[in-house]
Amino acid sequence: MLEDGKISNKQAVFLIINTILATSIIFLPSAIYKEARQDAWISIIPVTAFGVVAGLIIASLGIRFPRRTIIQYSGDIVGKPLGKVIGLIYTLFFIYINTFIIREIADMFNTNFMPETPISVFSIGIVFAAAYAIRSGLEVLARMGEIISPFVLVMLLLIVALIYPEIDTKLFFPVLEKGFIPVLKGAYPPALFFSETIIMVMLIPYLNKPSGAKASIAKAILIIGLFQLMIMATVTGVLGGLTADMNFPTLMLARYISLADLIERVEPLIMLTWIAGGFIKISVFYYCAVLAAAQWLNLREYKALVLPIGVLLTTLSIILWENIAQLSEQIFKRVPPYFLTIEVGIPLILLVLAILRGKGAAQR
């Protein structure tokens, strides 16, 4: 085995929460609001349901092949050559999606907090730290998630609690102004984020109770949905029509907080949340990429690949996009169909084929 570590199901729940929430609370509110306007919060409901279904597909697939990852078992289902192709797709996907994430976090810092600092400083810094975490193994990563995630969630609750007096409920009306279509359109951009449970195709084998994977994933997605709903509603209630034009509406929330002239300028809190959450997210995808690459190449050890892939991640995150407009255009308009195919389509097809061909352990 490349990875000897075991993580508990609770740790997996925290990892998933952190992985999805870290960037979704930054970038989703304005993207959803653009489509669904004041009904944006309703959009979270269908997308959460979608996320649960996607998660269950991934979990069912993983449970059929105990102690093996998708890189290893896809060959069993569709035959060796095609299995290799699928393995390569996932390896490249984990690298490619991570370049988006690194760039998002770095851009966020660059725009809001340190405009004069070159963006490469953030990329290199965060990837370097993540590389160190990954070389220490999956267990370390999971424990880190266990520490950081509750902190992130508490911070979000705190921000919402502090901004609560500013919410204007009138901004939620009229409900369903143009019917359900905009609401469903609004559910499209977050679908990408809510199916990031795809990381579990690499992690289920290392759960200490793989049979509980379904429950863990469903639990994680429901918690994420709840928080996303809360943030979306708060953003809508405070910013109203401005949400659509904001780059970082959640940060705006923190900037608006002004209680009794005493508690204000709390955005470093949210910055802390994002750097912590973003770091876990980047580490998780980084880990998946390294592990997938090592398994795909049948290596005995994955550590040798950590730094070279880190270099690739850093460099690509800098050179792929020239500016934030290109980045968000690509993430919300161009890549969703491709990513959704990889995140949900391929696992679904593999699952159906596995059932039809009777591959893998049948469900107990």
């Binding site: 809001n112 009138k170 009229p174 910013l239 401005l242 034009d245 900037r255 608006y256």
Partner: protein, 409 residues
């Protein structure tokens, strides 16, 4: 051995970032901008005025040496023209030895001329730059913003803080940058901004503190011994981003009622029994609900207002233990509140023909389909709409006494 050398090199490399980072900000390298003013300048340029805190004048140390009210001016006010706000700011840095820092800016004032030409072009920098805050209070002045900034307060350390405190206390119709952005983004309402002006207010309380009075400055005459304090004198009414007119303080009260922003304040009514005597009521809470109606042709609104108040001053001698007198005072109160609301409403509907009350938003919430048709000519629709106002005022308390103590029997 190699490992040790690498480790040593890495440790050495760690020293490099310790000196700081690119975007560091040291307090002694910043010029803290307390107030910003934007005026229009010839050739489509803008004139940016900033009020910068002078750290030496602020020094908290020195024990009791420093007087409560300022003996010297605590701020430095300078102006600069530029193609844009950011452009002007860049030019300013040729004069200011430190980097302008916008994180603590309290107020943003627009000059009248600029406001009449449209504030959108001046506001963008303040909402886009990550350094400024959305909690800045935005105001408009009659005349030039530069004059308002070039002032000091008798009570607060700077005039910017004085204006900011007034806005926070809810004088006039306080508007934050974010509220302004929301109003500008909406088709169902038009922005309003509080009007700030310098008005003669008592004698200057220190040497060298007479520079405030614009008339004195303009005509080169000897400064008079009157201090001019920044004062909230009403409200600027905008049509989209262009200033179209003013409301005075009384009409501003009506505006607050109709916007459901009435939180505290005072209403004075004539005594129902004795002419020439007045009764003043302190508003404890006010509440307004607006319901729009549409029959396919006409739009009308039912406005219901509720008020709880406490009677705090009585010049007349009615028996306030008599419920009938109470009722007649409340009736007078209803009439007076409606009158104030009507005066603001008439100005908005007849004189300026803009919806500044957010009635369009209320309409949008109730008639979502019809709104799509009406929204582009909403101001016209609003100007022609009937508004029914029903007020229900209640006096809950009469202060510490029931009847007037010194009765003229």
């Amino acid at each position: 051995m190699i490992k040790k050398i690498i480790c040593f090199l890495l440790i050495c490399a760690l020293v490099l970032p310790l000196e700081g980072c690119w975007s560091r900000r040291e307090l002694n390298e910043l010029a803290i901008v307390l107030a910003a003013g934007v005026d229009s300048a010839p050739n489509n340029k803008i004139l940016l005025t900033v009020q910068i805190a002078r750290p030496s004048a602020f020094g908290g140390g020195g024990g009791g040496q420093k007087m409560a009210a300022a003996q010297e001016n605590n701020v430095w006010v300078i102006s600069q023209t530029g193609e844009s706000v950011f452009d002007a700011q860049r030019y300013l840095e040729a004069k200011v030895s430190r980097e302008l820092y916008w994180g603590h800016t309290v107020i943003l004032v627009f000059g009248e001329q600029l406001a009449r030409n449209g504030i959108r072009k001046a506001i963008n920098y303040f909402s886009r730059s990550p350094n400024t805050r959305e909690t800045i209070w935005v105001l408009v002045t009659r005349g030039k913003a530069a004059d308002v900034l070039n002032s000091h307060s008798q009570l607060e350390t700077t005039s910017a803080q004085s204006i900011g405190n007034m806005a926070r206390a809810g004088v006039g119709v306080p508007v934050m940058l974010k509220d302004l952005s929301i109003m500008l983004a909406s088709k169902g309402t038009n922005p309003v901004l509080p009007r700030i002006e310098l008005t003669p207010s008592g004698k200057p309380q220190g040497p060298g503190m007479q520079e405030n009075i614009p008339e004195a400055r303009g005509s080169q005459q000897q400064a008079t011994l009157t201090h001019a304090e920044p004062t909230t004198t009403g409200t600027g009414v905008f049509k989209d981003d262009r200033l179209v007119g003013w409301l005075d303080m009384s009409e501003t009260r009506g505006l607050l009622w109709l916007k459901d922003k009435m939180e505290k304040g005072e209403i004075t009514i004539p005594s129902p029994r004795e002419s020439g005597k007045n009764i003043s009521i302190n508003i404890i809470r006010g509440n307004t609900s607006v319901e729009p109606f549409y029959d396919g042709q006409n739009v009308w609104f039912d406005v219901r207002m509720q008020m709880d108040g406490a009677l705090l001053e009585q010049q007349s001698t009615e028996d306030l233990t008599d419920p009938r007198i109470f009722a007649s005072i409340e009736k007078e109160l209803n009439r007076r509140i409606e009158e104030k609301a009507r005066s603001a409403l008439e100005k908005a509907q007849l004189t300026y023909e803009v919806d500044i009350f957010g009635f369009g938003e209320a309409f949008h919430r109730k008639y979502k389909k019809e709104w799509a048709v009406l929204k582009d000519r909403w101001n016209e629709v609003f100007a022609g709409a009937d508004v029914n106002i029903a007020v229900q005022a209640r006096i809950r308390r009469t202060g510490l006494t029931t009847n007037r103590i010194s009765k003229e029997r």
